[in-house]
Amino acid sequence: MTPGLYLLEAPWRLTDAELQKGMAQLPGHRRLKAQAQLTPLGKRQSVSAWLLLRYALRRLGLVDDGEIVTGIAGKPAFADSSMPCFSLSHCRHAVACAVAATPVGVDVEDYESYCQEVAREVLSDTELASAEGNPRKFAELWTLKESLLKQTGEGLTENLRELLRHKPENLEFLTFHGNAPYALSICGIGGDISGLTPVFLSADELID
């Protein structure tokens, strides 16, 4: 199975008409979740994430009407194990969806989420040396850690500071910086995600 990494940047740009049209195309359970979002941006992020997954599945000749189950840390997956693994993430500037044959974790983070106090607690000394006062680098490191946690689906079991140092040997990362101020990292089984490049999509390409 060919893995994929799909992105919609600036989800807030979705017009009301696009939002309504996209909403109508979601599976029932997902539509309810999107409708329950209280903010306009939240609705757009929710709709966009699922439309990206639908797009990714269609590229593989699959449909998105399967039952979704969640793991111990809330990692969503298709109940049907013959379906691909997937991971979704969003921030203000982008929504991302990764699909692969084996477990995968993707995370996006705005540079503006930088927080010095948090950086000092969650980064190792080496990481902090490069990221303190550097929102771009902080976003990159945070997404690396978060994508690893999302890939394993195990949740927080150890100190975030040394998380990357203890990364299982068989996992690999790819990191990108978007056209807007955000970072994206994907974590997957080595070989499965090698050479993967993000595909940037527009609302027109996602909504039928």
């Binding site: 979002q37 607690e121 975030l160």
Partner: protein, 100 residues
């Protein structure tokens, strides 16, 4: 996961989060509390006596709110934490960030 935002008579906000704040529900919470991070009022209390689980994505929501209060120069307090949640806050260093 359930959450509720209440405005107090003094204008400050009370955010109550309960249940499991996992990867999936954290995405939902983040969307819901973003306006609160942008306009936290004169203060914000996050009450979590019935929060039973938190993932790293859940911690991200706390960072969002911490940053919002810091920008606005208003106090943020976290109250009513179960021991299992306190362990996660200690493990990740968030106890220090939130002055717990």
């Amino acid at each position: 996961m359930n959450y509720k935002i209440e405005k107090r008579p003094d204008g400050s906000n009370l955010l109550t989060i309960s249940g499991r704040l996992d990867t999936l529900s954290a995405a939902e919470l983040e969307k819901g509390v973003r306006p609160l991070a942008e306009e936290p009022g004169p203060g914000l209390e996050i009450a979590i006596p019935e929060l039973s689980y938190i993932s790293s994505s859940g911690l991200r929501c706390f960072v969002l709110l911490f940053n919002g209060c810091k920008r606005a120069g208003v106090p943020l307090t976290v109250t009513g934490m179960q021991p299992s949640i306190r362990e996660i806050f200690d493990l990740t260093g968030f106890s220090k960030v939130f002055g717990l």
